[in-house]
């Protein structure tokens, strides 16, 4: 169903970053994902099933370490020698998306002999059917929006005749961008000597897998470590018939074969929001259908409210909230697309919506079928591969599967391209002998609407919940883009930045930005979280003037860190 259930941080277990022994890992690790929707990918609820019963089996299974390995890959290049000649590869990655690519590059740097298996096209969802082509469409929509805004143009003293667009030209731009990034990705791996093996990868047993087109022609290889990075596909809830023409998913929408006069977007997460930006800029009217009671449920409520005022209310958009699309019938026999709505809670019928097209943006489902997980006794949870905080795969008995990792959308921890890549790098660090645990709270997310939304860390309600549990006080400060010189010069004063922090320690808990180039501005905050930099230190960092980054500068400077390690001065009350 299209309700990605927003999980709040129910167990704020700080993830240990220092060295942890396997024994420590055997202790209760309750992996609690935050409710996040990323890169247009709505996070399916990942039930925080406790893995605390897991016990780490450090003992390798004796099987498959026999000498029956065959050298099959003719095109072996010098990307490191397979260790001790026991395996064909040190590392085999299944899936050449952004996660697999990031892992492969880092593996080569670490001297591992690496192969990557891809059954479709290099680049995965992000490059071919996700972030990349959608950014091309959004680049177009941003300009259209600006050119169509007569008032905005006039305030610059510019006069622009009626702006129009050529649909094919827009679609070509998106497609060309995807091809270019795809070939860049392919070339970067080839240049480093990563073997790109074509076909579907299937795990046969520990450290052993096959790839190929299926059937007997498959090739069996062995690897010291295996990473599953098979990603996800658009999630289509039951009752919805996708015909690829009038009822579409993001895969179809990105080809922009059709700009309907009126489109319903099911789901108001990142994908839905970004597409609403594209479609309204190209002249469509949009109806959102959201299962939760408010639009943009994944965002910090305050940011969501402001974003709704800017991104939804003034545009040709209306919405139905608290309803499921129980049935969607594509346009046929001279009828429009018919969407039947039911109340999300009571399941009572709530009428129908008739539109020219419907975009299903209810989230992403992991693509983990046919991986051969049954061969190693791993059971997926709603399709997601269960992993611990080090991305080690957990089997159905709660034990870690040795030498098998899963990163990216397939594990569902954080469905973001750059999170997958970061997880891949973390895994490579581990297999090359250095323990590493990724701090997911330092991974930023962005929504590329106009203006953009970005965030890192906790939302205000999550922070308050954590604060209540751990007994500290949450402080909040905000700055407006209206006070920023560069933003005003661009006539884009709409927007705020919000900092959620601990006044006692100066620790940043979360930063949320809505405004011009928010997606580029977030990294100062995400790096600070990753490095553990405190606000009192950041206050002394210098920002070029006049730049949008001063919005953050001002944000940090406006934060009040009450105490420090020094003796606090007496405060007049």
């Amino acid at each position: 169903m299209q309700s990605a259930i927003s999980l709040s941080l129910s167990s704020p277990s700080t993830i240990a970053r220092s060295d942890c022994t396997a024994a420590a890992a055997a202790n209760s690790y309750i992996c609690t994902p935050r409710s996040l929707r990323f890169c247009g990918l709505r996070r399916e609820a990942f039930k925080s099933k406790s893995f605390n019963s897991l016990s780490v089996s450090t003992r390798l299974l004796p099987c498959s370490r026999n000498s029956s390995f065959k050298k099959v890959c003719a095109a072996l290049q010098s990307n490191g020698a397979p260790s001790k000649g026991e395996f064909d590869y040190d590392l085999v990655i299944i899936g050449a998306g952004v996660g697999g690519h990031g892992a492969a590059l880092h593996a080569v740097e670490k001297g591992l002999k690496t192969a990557i298996i891809e059954g479709d096209v290099v680049g995965g969802t992000c490059v071919n059917r996700g972030c990349v082509p959608s950014k091309a469409l959004l680049a177009v929509s941003g300009r259209m929006r600006e050119l169509q805004n007569e008032h905005h143009m006039r305030s610059f003293g510019l006069q622009v005749a009626a702006a129009g667009y050529d649909k094919q030209g827009v679609a070509d731009h998106a497609n060309n961008l995807a091809s270019k990034i795809r070939s860049n990705l392919t070339n970067s791996m080839k240049a480093l000597g990563v073997d790109i093996l074509t076909g579907t990868g299937t795990i046969l047993g520990p450290q052993k897998l096959k790839f190929g087109k299926g059937g007997s022609g498959d090739t069996i290889i062995t690897a010291k470590d295996i990473i599953i990075a098979t990603g996800s596909v658009p999630l289509v809830p039951k009752g919805i018939e996708v015909d690829g023409k009038s009822v579409i998913t993001s895969d179809h929408a990105l080809k922009l074969e059709f700009v309907p006069e009126w489109i319903a977007i099911v789901g108001s997460g990142y994908i839905g929001l970004e597409f609403s930006d594209v479609y309204t800029a190209l002249g469509s009217e949009v109806t959102f259908i959201e299962a939760l009671d408010q639009l943009m449920p994944g965002f910090d409520p305050e940011i969501g409210k402001l974003a709704q005022r800017v991104l939804i209310n003034p545009r040709k958009i209306d919405h139905h909230t608290g309803v499921f699309a129980s049935k969607i019938t594509p346009a046929k026999d001279g009828n429009p697309v018919i969407i039947e709505l039911i109340d999300a809670k009571t399941k009572e019928p709530k009428g129908t919506v008739e539109v020219d097209a419907a975009l299903i943006a209810t989230g992403r489902a992991p693509f983990t079928q046919g991986l051969g997980l049954e061969n190693i006794n791993v059971q997926t949870q709603r399709g997601f591969v269960p992993v611990d905080e080090r991305m080690r795969v957990i089997d159905s008995t709660g034990k870690l599967v040795p030498h098998l990792y899963c990163i990216g959308d397939a594990n569902g921890k954080m469905m973001l391209a750059h999170a997958a890549s970061a997880q891949g790098i973390s895994v490579v660090e581990q297999v090359s002998g250095k323990d590493h645990v990724l701090n997911h709270l330092s991974i930023p997310a962005a929504c590329f609407t106009h203006p953009e939304i970005s965030m890192v860390g906790l939302t205000e309600p999550q922070a308050r919940e954590k604060a209540e549990k751990e007994g500290f006080e949450v402080s909040i400060t905000k700055t407006s883009f209206k006070a920023n010189t560069k933003a005003l010069a661009e006539n884009e004063g709409e927007g705020i930045a919000k900092l959620i922090y601990r006044a006692d320690t100066g620790e940043i808990l979360g930063v949320h930005i809505f405004g011009l180039h928010a997606a580029d501005l977030i990294h100062e905050a995400s790096n600070a979280i990753a490095m553990g930099t405190r606000i009192q230190e950041l206050k002394f960092a210098v920002h070029a003037h006049p730049t949008l980054s001063e919005v953050l500068d001002e944000l940090f400077k406006s934060a009040k860190v009450v105490s420090s390690s020094h003796v606090a001065q007496p405060v007049a009350v």
Partner: protein
């Protein structure tokens, strides 16, 4: 304005007692934590929500958006409306529990500080009463809805229900209303009852155009008016309002750009002009003397527009019939003032600022006045009487090198003069001598019901004499 408004609503006990302390207060928590003084509880059932003073310099505020809709239950501290002051947009919270019974000032409209922008009822039973108050207040005092005319658009603000649609095709599914998101927004904005509309869009849905039509934004031409000859397609690819949806062949790659309010107003006027029987008379005029005079007075800030307007006004004073109007098709209406409207192209639109009493003001005052009007027009600050009180229109395309053209008579006026460029021309005089003189062609379009050929010719002769001997203009 504020006091006026309050005196009109004495029945609402709150309006006077609370004007110093607004019912709602701004809460901009990032500027200041909430710590406003509590307002003592007053037993009033229906309260007005006032335009709050969000800054010390704020005199009026624009409603950016209503966060709550009519009928929503509000609880104390909830944000109700977003107000744009001279400084920033701010969420405004209600200080009372209740039900938002009526919105008085709609999104995008402006109200002075202290004016009622909405009505809050305490219980559901009082909603009707509150609504009635809001309507009576609203209809008896339309001024507060738009105390400041920001847009100089003559488009009517329609709050009356849509005109009856004749010969409506039966909706495909009776009782079910399908309207696009933008159509719903427009209907709310123009207070059009969407249930009464008949959709013309695909599958009988109500489109934004249907709502605009009902609101009178792009009205269909009257039935007694012949449908306009298809306007030049190349220059007008945008939708042209016509009675029946015209079946122009679909040209691939074309773009439809809806009219702005100003463009819609122009269209309305142009279609109305088709009901007036007009004719045209042209006249060549030597301009050497005028050009010489212009060179002389230019440093004093006199513009060619002022010179021509003055000359036309002086000529009109001698030919009052050309300054007259035919209002009902049965009589002459002689205007006591000579107000020269001058057509000005402005950002994809057209506006006609009016030089009032152009015959009486001297050239320098007239030039100064003109400068002010143009600045106001650019800033969209013209008051209605500054663009719709003309009795005669002047349109000059001479600066583009146009030698002659034909103007369309605006409704409500008797004549319009189209002025071409002044160009050196070889002339032969009655003695057979050739000379080269600057000459311009003027072409007057007039309403033949009141102005006949001889009237116009006589007027043009006078005008030509004035232009050829322009010294009198400086007096």
């Amino acid at each position: 304005m504020a006091s006026l408004l309050q005196s009109r609503t004495p029945s609402l006990s709150f309006s006077s007692s609370l004007c110093s302390t607004p019912v709602i207060r701004p809460s901009v928590s990032f500027l200041k934590p909430r710590s406003g003084p509590r307002i003592p509880v007053v037993r009033a059932k229906i309260r007005e929500i006032f335009m709050p003073a969000l800054s010390s310099t704020m005199t009026e505020g624009k409603i950016v958006s209503w966060i709550k809709s009519e009928g929503d239950v509000l609880s104390k501290g909830e944000s109700v409306v977003v107000v744009e002051s001279d400084k920033a947009d701010m969420d405004v919270e209600t200080f009372y529990d209740g039900i938002l019974a009526a919105i008085v000032i709609n999104e995008g409209e402006t109200a002075p500080v202290g004016a009622a922008i909405g009505i809050l009822a305490e219980t559901e039973g009082e909603i009707a009463e509150a609504k009635a108050k809001a309507t009576s207040q609203f209809s008896s005092a339309p001024a507060p809805s738009a105390p400041k005319v920001e847009e100089s658009s003559p488009a009517p603000k329609v709050d009356a229900p849509s005109p009856p649609v004749d010969a409506a095709p039966a909706p495909s599914t009776p009782g079910k209303v399908v309207a696009t998101p933008y159509a719903k927004k427009l209907a709310k904005q123009y207070k059009v009852d969407i249930g009464k509309l008949v959709g013309t869009g695909p599958f009988g849905r109500i489109t934004p155009e249907d709502v605009e039509k009902a609101a009178g934004i792009t009205p269909a031409p009257k039935s007694n008016v012949a449908a306009p000859a298809a306007p030049v397609a190349s220059s007008a690819p945008a939708s042209v309002p016509s009675k029946a949806p015209s079946n122009f062949p679909e040209i691939p790659g074309s773009t439809v750009v809806p009219f702005t309010t100003m463009q819609a107003a122009v269209t309305k006027n142009m279609l109305e002009s088709l009901s007036v029987p007009t004719f045209r008379v042209g006249y060549p005029i030597a301009t050497d003397a005028l050009d010489a005079l212009y060179e002389k007075v230019k440093p004093k800030g006199v513009t060619m527009t002022a010179l021509l307007a003055k000359a036309a006004a002086v000529a009109l004073a001698q030919h009052p019939v050309v300054n007259a109007t035919c209002k009902d098709g049965k009589s002459f209406t002689y205007n006591s003032n000579i107000n020269i409207a001058v057509a000005v192209a402005i950002n994809g639109g057209l506006i006609t600022p009016v030089l009032q009493d152009a015959d009486k003001l001297d050239l320098y005052l007239l030039s100064q006045k003109w400068k002010e009007l143009v600045e106001k027009a650019r800033a969209k600050q013209l008051q209605p009487r500054e663009y719709n009180s003309g009795t005669f229109t002047l349109s000059n395309l001479g600066m583009f090198g146009v030698d002659r053209f034909d103007a369309i008579l605006p409704p409500g006026q008797g004549a319009i003069m189209a002025v071409g460029a002044s160009k050196p021309t070889v002339l032969a005089d009655k003695d057979g001598f050739f000379s080269i003189k600057n000459k311009m062609l003027v072409n007057v379009t007039a309403d033949h019901r009141i102005i006949y050929g001889a009237d116009l010719a006589a007027f043009l002769q006078t005008f030509s004499k004035i232009i050829e001997n322009p010294e009198s203009l400086t007096m």
